[in-house]
């Protein structure tokens, strides 16, 4: 009986999704796409001629926060699943 599927964001890109040796370029590209979308919306106001320092800093923070969020969601979902299983 598994104790849950919670895994760290970093291990998400291994094949199988739950960790493992090989990196899956498909999965990485999907995540790049998501983060690009999210962080562009949050960090870029009126697009200028280049990404200025504040925008770059924002994007970097945004990526880290997105990964934090992912981990939080993963833990919360895992807890909920365990609770549901316990109630069955």
């Amino acid at each position: 009986m598994e104790s849950g599927f919670g895994s760290d964001f970093g291990s998400d890109f291994g094949s199988g999704g739950g960790g493992g040796g090989k990196l899956d370029p498909g999965l990485i590209m999907e995540q790049v796409k998501r983060m690009t979308d999210k962080c562009f919306r949050k960090c870029i106001g009126k697009p200028g001629g280049a990404l200025d320092n504040s925008e770059q800093k924002c994007i970097a923070m945004c990526m880290d926060r997105y990964m934090d969020a992912w981990n939080t969601v993963s833990r919360a979902y895992n807890s909920r699943l365990q609770r549901e299983r316990a109630n069955m």
Binding site: F5, D12, G17, K42, A69, S74, A76, Y77
Partner: protein
């Protein structure tokens, strides 16, 4: 292992069958985490800061719970609607 036992995914091998089940579940889990993170990000994140503050973190946790509640609510209500529909059509006999 003879050719006949290879039929279907995993064939007659319960261990392989189990492995496939677990991996499929893991994948579903990951997909849902991605989906919820995307949705909840819109609801819970203002401007990205140096760390995830406790208010945002609480929001993400609530968001997950409410998302699952929403999904269950929809399933239950659909089920009820179907039940009442079928009993309605049964009463419309020729």
């Amino acid at each position: 292992m003879d050719a006949a036992s290879g039929a279907g995914l995993g064939g007659a091998d319960p261990q392989l069958q189990r492995f496939i089940e677990v991996e499929t579940q893991k994948q579903r889990f990951q997909q849902l985490v991605h989906q919820m993170t995307e949705l909840c990000w819109e609801k819970c994140m203002d401007k990205p800061g140096p760390k995830l503050d406790s208010r945002a973190e609480t929001c993400f946790m609530n968001c997950v719970e409410r998302f699952i509640d929403t999904s269950q609510f929809i399933l239950n209500r659909l089920e009820q609607t179907q039940k009442s529909k079928s009993s309605f059509s049964e009463s419309l006999s020729d």
